[in-house]
Symmetry: none
Subunit: 194 residues, 4 copies
Amino acid sequence: MEQALKIERAGRPRDARLDDAIVAATIELLEERGYNDMSLAAVAERAGTSTTAIYRRWKSKSELVAHAVFRTEGDDVVAETDNIAVDIASMVRWAAEKLARPAALAAVVGILGESRSERVARSTAAAMASKRVIDRLNRAKVRGEIRADVDTRVLASLIAGPVLNEVFAGGAAHVNERWIAELVSIVLDGVRPR
Amino acid sequence: MEQALKIERAGRPRDARLDDAIVAATIELLEERGYNDMSLAAVAERAGTSTTAIYRRWKSKSELVAHAVFRTEGDDVVAETDNIAVDIASMVRWAAEKLARPAALAAVVGILGESRSERVARSTAAAMASKRVIDRLNRAKVRGEIRADVDTRVLASLIAGPVLNEVFAGGAAHVNERWIAELVSIVLDGVRPR
Amino acid sequence: MEQALKIERAGRPRDARLDDAIVAATIELLEERGYNDMSLAAVAERAGTSTTAIYRRWKSKSELVAHAVFRTEGDDVVAETDNIAVDIASMVRWAAEKLARPAALAAVVGILGESRSERVARSTAAAMASKRVIDRLNRAKVRGEIRADVDTRVLASLIAGPVLNEVFAGGAAHVNERWIAELVSIVLDGVRPR
Amino acid sequence: MEQALKIERAGRPRDARLDDAIVAATIELLEERGYNDMSLAAVAERAGTSTTAIYRRWKSKSELVAHAVFRTEGDDVVAETDNIAVDIASMVRWAAEKLARPAALAAVVGILGESRSERVARSTAAAMASKRVIDRLNRAKVRGEIRADVDTRVLASLIAGPVLNEVFAGGAAHVNERWIAELVSIVLDGVRPR
DNA sequence: GAGTAACCGAGACGGTACGTCACGTCTTCTG
DNA sequence: CAGAAGACGTGACGTACCGTCTCGGTTACTC
């Protein structure tokens, strides 16, 4: 899947427009119907192609969904300015953008519904994002922006966690700038050096 | 389900042992295979019964799973002592106990995979738990245990949210007492009156 | 398949009308489209049922076709009068009735298109019919109706063989009573005691 | 197929060894797996080439199979000596050689599985062979070798028909010289002038 | 103690999706 | 232009599961 580069040039090349059309159709249908009620046949039809073309690109429905929803276009997980407040806010905002969409909920359902073994492979992306957040927090600790005795792994879970909580409770709507500001305020107060 | 009112209806009564066997088999299979790969036929077989008996008790697969995993035996969501630190810790602990089991993940998948309309019905349980948490926090605000300007809804999401985050990242294992203590410490510092 | 008798009575009984509807639809579509262009989905639709109901009854498309076309309602393969000429004519007529239908050609295609191993199982029906024919011929030999030195197995192939030949050459149409009479005349002359 | 006219067309010439390799692979796989389970991809792989090369030579799978199995190298269908017994025997022998191979069965399946319109084109070869047989029999009638009132079309079906019957019954193995002699003996006795 | 109502098991039913496979066509690069 | 590779659409196959239903048979309460 997702083969590295076009080292191999034999054969008819993939139609790049299909990739886009499939991904777009996937997201649309995910939002309209949810994971279980989204069939690959429907995706294919809306994308103007066939299910075989989909299976040529992704191994399974859940893999397609994971790629369509969570492909990391750029690596903008972590902003790094010299202001930890600004950076934490941007990390929360990033999590919200990723998760507070109907399609994201549906994608999580798909990924988590898989058997355990297949799941681990998929979770690496999330793990990497998490690692970058923790790295940023550790640097803040070194700089004295946050208390030295804070467990940054716990702190990291205070960034994406609340967003997740809202999404699952069905309250993704009120994750707005005010909400984010309040969250950042509390968390920062909690880790600020005394 | 309906067994609340035991009006002693006519006919052969339900075999109570089946209820337990079905619930137990459901949790086992959920942990072994995940939501999608757990079929009701397999549950029935392991429970030594038939799918008919299951459908007589629950309307659908997701309802069975929701009941099996999240049946609230007692309503001990919120402890109310006179110490907010203790109470928040116990709320986090409650969330962890509910969520940090393999089956819980699977159950969430089942509930979230439903079409939107069916989902709301199920989510009321979570909403009620959330409401009780917020009520407790509001009382703490009145008593002056936490700052007056804190948005308690945001604060509530700082209790279950981090647990959710760990569960989804696959790190439910290290949600232990130390982790909980650290979390409570940060959060409390963030909302303590200055 | 075709389970012996109704020894087992558990469970919802099969809908007998479906059996008939499926067989009828199979034969119709076989004649309209031929074996390859007859899909089980089309059979199911015309029979007013689903493909699952078909697969519950027959293991594969070719097995369905074999059963639908060649089920031996009565065992009227061999008439046994005291006149060998009459009996051979009736055997030829039986073969013609079985084979000189469009659906029969299609069924043969299906059966013969299978891999060898599956094929043998199916051919037992034909083998049994053949055996009965040979038995009748052997009795005729004992009675002196045909020459003692005739190989009845070769003789048997002179009964169904010519019919097969016409069917495959596309000339099933002119297998009529005159044709059958001529065939019987030649064959009988060839084996009559001198 | 079209390679009859070798007008030396422009461009790279076809690799003649591929023709042979494809035909050989086709026959092998036909015998191993039967018609339906023989895929062109498998043929291409065994022949060390690609499906493109196959489709450049034959229009379809059934056409390839028909050509591979029934290509008539020489037109030796009918021997014409002055002895009708010898000639009929050689015609039977020719039919047996053509049909009593596993691949022949498979080829017939392929041809008969086609839609009716495509089938007629292919069946002309068989029709021509049949015509030559009938012509020979008519000449025998004129010479008085067989009875004047015999329908030679019925008689012709007594030559290839029994062979077909054995092949379809799975008994191609015992179509040997003794079998042929017995067949010819019966048939000749049946049409000999009295 | 006979009825009756609801249970129990087995298994068929329609529906729908999944993932695989083959066919025959098309598109690209290489010889 | 042939050849190899591999994309593409079409469409069938066979499997699995869901949730419903229809049987024969069983168990308790009720009259």
